[in-house]
């Protein structure tokens, strides 16, 4: 049994690495990550303060990506912003996937009244633009930091995984191996964790990446509205500061372009990774092209 599992694992990873979308996405993502970590390790936190550099300079030696109106280096900012944006995404995606999977499992497995209620809840929260609830909360919480932001976003990230896990469980639970487990006296939770979970893991991975992507998206959206962490730097906050100092119209392209490009690369890479994971775990989705 153990060896069989290792073999399927290898096959899965191998198949993933042969998937072009996954591979391109992974390379872009790792490049971003490496740049961010390297930048973060080589910068002195003191240089993050405003006025550490001369203001409004185009890229040059000492400030490879230029400086902003407040005398901050764009390169230093981005080396702080990228890891923090990733942190928001990671925490929120973990919370969303975990609670989403839990709700989906319970709803799909137990059925009946529990399912009826949870299904309505899932449908309702799916149809409401969660950004709006987040605006409502973030506007009240004073001085959010990156972690608080991640928690708030994560609290609304469960509906989509919940819906999909529920559908998966519904189709899995009628299979013979689940029936056997039930007949042999396993409890509901045991069946969920020992029999159903292993089937769902690959597929939860795709969901996790998706939740990651939408959490980073939400963070940048909230920051753009002025609801982001004011004392810390995230990619969304960088865009926010650049826009509130009219960086476009003052032709300070080196201020707004790096965070915008970083966001595009991040979204594209996560989306490609998500597509790759989805295709490998659902062979039916593979395009014929």
């Amino acid at each position: 049994m153990a060896t069989a599992r290792v073999e399927t694992g290898k096959g899965y990873v191998g198949e993933l690495l042969r998937n072009r979308k996954f591979l391109i996405g992974l390379i872009i993502f790792l490049t971003l990550l490496t740049l961010a970590v390297a930048g973060n390790l080589t910068t002195d936190p003191a240089s993050r303060r405003s006025g550490s550099f001369p203001a409004r300079l185009p890229p040059g030696p000492g400030w490879p990506l230029g400086t902003d109106t407040l005398g901050r280096s764009i390169a230093v900012q981005i080396s702080e912003a990228l890891p923090k944006s990733l942190q928001v995404g990671l925490i929120a995606a973990f919370l969303g996937t975990f609670f989403g999977a839990l709700i989906g499992f319970v709803s799909g497995y137990f059925g009946g009244m529990v399912d009826a209620v949870l299904r309505v809840l899932i449908d309702v929260f799916l149809s409401i633009p969660s950004l709006l609830f987040l605006i409502l909360i973030a506007a009240l919480v004073k001085g959010v930091n990156v972690q608080a932001m991640a928690l708030i976003i994560g609290a609304f990230a469960w509906p989509s995984p919940a819906r999909q896990v529920r559908a998966q469980v519904l189709s899995l639970k009628e299979r013979a191996f689940v029936q056997v487990a039930r007949l042999s006296g396993m409890s509901g939770l045991e069946i969920i964790f020992r029999e159903l979970m292993p089937h769902m893991l690959q597929w939860l991975g795709a969901n996790f990446v998706n939740a990651f992507l939408s959490a980073v998206l939400t963070e940048s959206g909230l920051s753009l509205l002025g609801l982001g962490p004011q004392r810390e730097m995230t990619l969304g906050m960088m865009v926010y500061w650049a826009l509130s100092y009219a960086a476009i119209l003052q032709n300070l392209w080196w201020w707004w372009a790096p965070p915008v490009l970083a966001l595009i690369c991040l979204f594209l890479s996560l989306y490609l990774i998500h597509l790759g994971l989805d295709e490998v775990s659902n062979p039916r989705l593979r395009s014929q092209a």
């Binding site: 409401i128 605006i135 909360i137 009240l140 998206l217 509205l225 915008v260 595009i264 979204f267």
Partner: protein, 337 residues
């Protein structure tokens, strides 16, 4: 009969959405530590003891019964809401929140309906053609990665790039704003054209991104329909390629494509609100943005509630018209939802 049951299910979702969102909007400010009007007080303090301060606080306490129990407060909140009373704005007291929201609504609805319809129709048509004949043409193949990149960019990021390229670098389009500064606001051809010219870039940023998505989804739907029995039969009957694509494959793919529209409406609206902010477009998104900047919590609350309820209603309308294009849902599918 089955249609009625389906209608009933959708109605339950609609009512639940309205109820849950109103409840969340009511409880969120009360769950956060501090007085529910803390935002009001801090704003008043920041304005340096404004003239209207005591009246405003008194009025709030009276309308929302803040000295009474939570349950009574909730009931009076619902009662005022049913009358369309969303309270008073703080930054422009004594204006009602509802009076401030009203002028913003047409801008948002105009921008959203036009862009969503254009991108959905155009994306579905191009997606169908490329899905049907894609393999034969290099050009069609090249569209796929382009759409993929476009779709993965959020509207508001594309908006920034479009402003830089087409309003700043090559000033083909006007700078962000609803209309030119100093133009007469009247119903003249000049004014209408000016508004339209200002709307092109915001519309383009939404259309390009969502076009990518509708294109990709229609393409994969058509590709997956190709091997179906009824398509093969239509081919065997000798029907023309055009007729099979538009009369058979496309019609069937329209159904999931319409469901897709209902599902993603919330995302489209959320993204469009941010696009408005970037373009200083005077819709609900910009109104919420300025109320955040002005710490005008009742206005934020009112705007958020209005948008959530409209999205819920729009979803409901798409859901109940859906069976009209899908006869199956009236019979077999109804039970499963």
């Amino acid at each position: 009969m089955a249609y009625l049951r389906y209608l009933g299910q959708r109605l339950v979702i609609l009512v639940a959405t309205i109820f849950i969102s109103i409840t969340v909007v009511f409880f969120v400010p009360r769950m956060v530590p501090g007085h529910p009007l803390a935002a009001v007080f801090s704003k008043l303090a920041a304005m340096g003891g404004s003239l209207n301060a005591p009246e405003l606080i008194e009025e709030y306490t009276r309308i929302f019964g803040l000295d009474r129990s939570l349950w009574e407060q909730y009931v009076s909140f619902l009662r005022e809401l049913a009358r369309g009373n969303l309270g008073y704005s703080i930054s422009s007291f004594p204006s009602h929140v509802s009076d401030l929201l009203k002028p913003a609504i047409p801008w948002t609805i105009g921008l959203l309906t036009v862009t969503t319809l254009i991108s959905w129709i155009l994306g579905s048509l191009i997606g169908a053609v490329v899905g049907w004949r894609g393999q034969k043409s290099r050009f069609f193949q090249a569209l796929v990665p382009v759409a993929l990149v476009l779709y993965s960019i959020p509207y508001y990021i594309l908006a920034i790039i479009l402003i830089f390229l087409f309003a700043f670098h090559w000033p083909i389009f006007p700078l962000p704003g609803p209309y030119s500064v100093g133009i007469e606001r009247e119903l003249s051809l000049e004014f209408v054209l000016d508004v339209l010219r200002h709307a092109i870039l915001p519309a383009l940023s939404i259309i390009l991104v969502s076009l990518g998505w509708w294109f990709l989804s229609m393409r994969s739907l058509i590709t997956s329909l190709k091997g179906e029995d009824y398509i093969l039969q239509a081919e065997a009957k000798g029907l023309s390629d055009q007729r099979i694509l538009w009369g058979y494959a496309f019609r069937n793919a329209l159904l999931p494509q319409a469901t897709g529209l209902a599902i993603s409406l919330g995302h489209i609206v959320g993204g469009a609100l941010l696009t408005e902010v970037i373009f200083a477009y005077p819709g609900l998104g910009s109104l919420i943005y300025s109320s955040i900047q002005g710490k005008d919590y009742p206005l934020i609350q009112g705007g958020v509630l209005l948008i959530i309820l409209s999205v819920a209603l729009a979803n409901f309308l798409i859901d109940i018209t859906y069976p009209l294009i899908d006869p199956r849902i009236r019979t077999e599918r109804a039970g499963r939802g």
